[in-house]
Every structure is written in structure tokens, then in C-alpha cells.
Amino acid sequence: MATDAPAVQAEPALTAPEAHAHVTNTGLSNEKLAMWAFLGSECLLFGALISTYFLYRGRSPVGPYPKDIYDIPYTSVSSFVLLMSSLTMVLALAAIQRGDSRRLRVWLLATALLGSSFIAGQVYEFTTFIREGLTLKTNLFGSSFFVLTGFHGVHVTVGIVMLLSLWTLSMRGKLPQERAEVVEIAGLYWHFVDVVWIVIFTVVYLIPSPTPHGG
């Protein structure tokens, strides 16, 4: 149809030099699209781990079992910490979008700190469990618990590294307002890791595991 023509004429507008405009088909930057694609992929990664944990709930012939060693109040607090780090993350993004680099750094650091305390909490949890006799080798529960939460922990750690790198960049003045998207993308990753924990907290900790041999 003749209506094809406007498409062609519209084109020069796109090539007008315009600093930092995203001229992509979706209007999204490659990096952001890629991050979301990656997160979609991560859904299947964590799904596999979570379902493996689920499959092995209550199937260990020998203890210790979840109810013997979980410390729900403790884990609730660290879950809360991680949840709140999502808030500070999003505040960091809001800050850089406003051009407020000082706040940006404050919130980035706060997020990294919250994340680190979550990790510290996890390390402590792991050591307690090991002391109480649950290791990767003890039983299926140990295997699936440590692998699942360990994978998540590694993801959080990577996130912390990202946050600290951003913080450093900002300190060195290399994170101006125009580059808010970098923070946004790191934030996406961070929130995703948080969201995964939301699921883990429920499925692994809060929903009680059936006891083996029926019941």
C-alpha cells in the first residue's frame, strides 16, 4: 500500500544525531533487553533447583530433617533484610534518575550492606547447620538445601559485587545521570535475586516438609 511510504520518510528523523538516544526497534537498550532475557532464563535455572528441593522434601531416610534445624525467626529476619534491600535499590535508582549522585551512593551502599548481612546470615546459618550435623553429604535434605540456597547465595554475592562496582564508578564520577540505566539493570538483577528468595523462603522454610515414611 502507499502507506508504506511514510515509514521510509520517517526514517531520517531516526538518524538525527541525538546523544544517548536508544534507537533500537523496541526502544529498549540492548543491555536492558539482554538482562531481562537473562532473567527469563534464570527462572528456569532456579525453577529446576527449587523443584529438586521440592521433589526431595521428606524423602531422606535419615535425619536431620528441616524441622530439627530450621530457625524460622532467624531466617525471617534475614529474609526481611533482603526484602528491604530491594527498597534501597529502587531508591538508588530513583536518586540517579533525579541526578542525585550523593543519595545514589548512599542507597547503593545501603543495598550492598543489606545484601552482605543477608549473606553473612546465610554463612552463619550454614555453619550452624553443619555443626548440628547437616552437610551436603548427610542426606537428601542436606544435598538439596545447600545446593539451592548456595546457588542463591552466589547470586546475591555477584549482585553485591555489581553494587560495589557501581558505587566505585560513582565515586570516581563515572556514573552521571545519563547512565542511570546501568543502575537500573543492576537493580533488575538484584530484585530478581530477591524475588527468588521470596519463593525459596516460602517453599523451603515456611511450608513444612512432610516427615518421611508417611505422615
Partner: protein
């Protein structure tokens, strides 16, 4: 045939201003509000853990609450609600695929005892 298609694509190709490009962005106040809701839901979850009426029902509620938290973080903190629909599709595809496939395989291994289905 192709007119809308072009228009659609042209709309996407329009350069966006940096930052708040995606329409109504939530404000910091919204973020804080969301966080408070999330905190409250977490509180309810933990409280539910300690209640001891019907376990089946509790589990269902726990899963529902986790779902709410999940959606809120994704929608608001990750801006999925406001952002380009390509992203939403990308992520939900992965998520739904994961949910369906993994639930199906757990089901074949007899993890879910669906007592109300005669053959399950």
C-alpha cells in the same frame, strides 16, 4: 496489512528521553508504600507458619502470599508494570514455562497427591 505493523514498530523506534521514559513512573513514596506492604505480608507469612489450623489451607495461603510479593516486586521495583511490554513477555514466558514444566515433572513423580482427582 502491514500498516499497523509499521506504525507499531515506528512507535517503538522513536527515541526516548533518558530516564523516565516509560510513562508514569512510581515515585519514591510509592516505593516505600510497596515496601511496607511487602514487609507486612512477610509478617503475615511468618505468623501463618506458627498457626496450626488446616495445614493444606495454610500452605495454599503461603503460596498465594509469596505470589503477591513476587508480583509486587516485579511489577513495581522492576518496573515491569510500566515498562515495555516486550520485557514483560520475555520474563513471563520464562516464568510460566518454568512453572508449568517443573510442576508437570514433579507431578509425574507423584509429588502432588491430588486426592480429589481419581487418577492422580
Amino acid at each position: 496489512m502491514s500498516t499497523e505493523a509499521i506504525e507499531e514498530s515506528e512507535a517503538h523506534r522513536r527515541p526516548h528521553a533518558e530516564g523516565g521514559e516509560h510513562g508514569a513512573h512510581p515515585t519514591e513514596a510509592t516505593y516505600i508504600k510497596i515496601a511496607m506492604i511487602l514487609a507486612a505480608v512477610t509478617g503475615i507469612e511468618v505468623a501463618l507458619y506458627y498457626t496450626s489450623f488446616n495445614q493444606q489451607a495454610t500452605n495454599a495461603m503461603l503460596i498465594a502470599l509469596a505470589g503477591i510479593k513476587f508480583v509486587m516486586v516485579a511489577a513495581y521495583f522492576m518496573h515491569l508494570k510500566f515498562d515495555n511490554k516486550v520485557l514483560r513477555r520475555l520474563f513471563t514466558t520464562g516464568f510460566i514455562l518454568a512453572s508449568l514444566c517443573y510442576v508437570a515433572y514433579l507431578w509425574t513423580l507423584g509429588v502432588f497427591k491430588l486426592s480429589f482427582l481419581p487418577w492422580a
